[in-house]
């Protein structure tokens, strides 16, 4: 599976999911949600400043009046409403509109009324990169700043769940570091080695994990051969686990801005997928992020504590 069109192919066969959009009065968000609605992929529930929603929709020339709309002027409350809709069984995913990510996550993570699971929230980005034979998942370049070993296990589990939702049944996970050898002075290589062993021993299932791997030998077979690395993952990785948010951010921005890679992403680990895109992202990225979340719906994950 190389192209993003494949995600659409999966979603097309699914029942339309219900997406609660918190603070939906945003032009990019309305445009992308309209696209999935128009194609019958989703039933949006728009929560926000109704007057603005209709003004923006009129400006964009789209008709949102047949969508469910809930008027809520307070952005934080709109996030709470989105969470309640999920609790009520009336929404299958949440999309962030014009509000702070922290406000949305606060509502999602609220102890009593939120959508916590036993897992960890993490971001998974998906990239269509020219010159690579398949789509690349990168995690976690968005949520966890400096994950420890335990958190990295959860991050891998989340990413494997997303990859499997897209039909990658046994994704290959490359745990990235600066080098491909274990170096006691570089903690990320120690974590990588431990994760590879945990994968080998079945502590992390449904995937093949190897690490540490440097970026070149994770995605380039020649580079791996040159370094005499014998690995099922080297040169053929599906998922790149970055050591921390900085490395992840630099990697994904390089893919997007220098390589012109198409991108989308989702936050998983809560009871439902969270579509959290930034204003800087293109409408296309937002559109595919929604599709990615929709592709995850109805997928059962034995390790994923309550993901519907």
């Amino acid at each position: 599976m190389h192209h993003f069109d494949a995600i659409e192919g999966i979603v097309r066969l699914r029942t339309a999911g219900r997406i609660a959009v918190a603070a939906a009065h945003d032009d990019h968000v309305l445009q992308s949600i309209w696209e999935v609605y128009r194609k019958g992929y989703a039933h949006p529930i728009l929560i926000g400043d109704k007057e603005k929603i209709f003004a923006i929709a009129d400006q964009l020339g789209i008709d949102v009046s047949t969508m469910t709309i809930i008027k809520e002027m307070d952005e934080r409350k709109s996030a709470e409403i989105a969470v309640t809709l999920v609790q009520n069984g009336e929404a299958d995913a949440i999309m962030k509109g014009l509000l702070q990510t922290a406000d949305l996550l606060r509502a999602v993570l609220e102890r009593d009324k939120g959508l916590r699971t036993t897992g960890l929230l993490s971001h998974i980005g998906l990239y269509e990169v020219d010159g690579y034979s398949k789509m690349l998942f990168v995690t976690d370049a968005g949520i966890n700043i400096a994950p420890d070993l335990k958190q990295k296990v959860e991050i891998i589990r989340n990413a494997v769940f997303v990859a499997r939702s897209l039909g990658v049944t046994t994704p290959k996970v490359a745990v990235l570091a600066a080098v491909e050898t274990v170096n006691p002075n570089m903690p990320s290589t120690l974590d990588a080695a431990a994760l590879a062993k945990m994968g080998q021993r079945g502590q992390i299932r449904d995937c093949v994990i190897d690490g540490p791997l440097a970026m070149d030998n994770a995605i380039n077979l020649e580079a791996a051969r040159h370094k005499h690395i014998t690995s099922e993952v080297a040169g053929d990785a599906d998922i790149l686990l970055v050591p921390d948010i900085e490395a992840g951010n630099i990697l994904v921005k390089t893919l997007i801005f220098l390589n012109k890679a198409r991108s989308c992403g989702v936050i998983t680990g809560a009871r439902v997928p969270l579509i959290v895109t930034s204003r800087a992202e293109s409408s296309e990225a937002k559109y595919y992020s929604i599709l990615l979340a929709l592709a995850m719906l109805g997928q059962s994950d034995p390790e994923r504590r309550g993901l519907s």
């Binding site: 109704k50 009046s65 047949t66 469910t68 809930i70 309640t84 609790q87 009520n88 069984g89 009336e90």
Partner: protein
Amino acid sequence: MSKPKKNILSVWVEDKAGVLWHVTQLFGEENCNIESLAVGSTERPGISRMTIIVGGDDQAVDVVLARLNRITSLVKVKRIDDDESVMMELGLVMVDAPDEKKTDIINIVNVFRARIVDVATSTMTVAISGGPPKLQALIDLLRPFGILEIVRTGPIAIDRGNKALT
């Protein structure tokens, strides 16, 4: 042949002058007859909730819903599924009740767990709450005695289970 399913709508609106008129007018414009309408305050200050029951086909109701969505004082509209909701109505029935029939009326009222809320020389007023079929059944049984007046609030409905207002 089963009866056509009715459309039960819960409509949350801001408590402002003219909103009720605006909402009901749209139904008329789309030729949807409102069979019942109940309005009252909610747990949120400044927000009222209407329960509207309309006949007409689903498509016509969909058109009304899309138009309702554009009313800025309207907070939310929701179709209520009668299988997943609790629906209640209050009715007052004034019935002709000469002395020789009073006992019969009281017996019927007791069976329905209704209450007699007023008694006059030759009339009794019965209050009954419950689902619309229950009210209708009592009215049908009281009809042979001679019904002088009926007033019904129209049903109100709320989702079953944990589905709190959003």
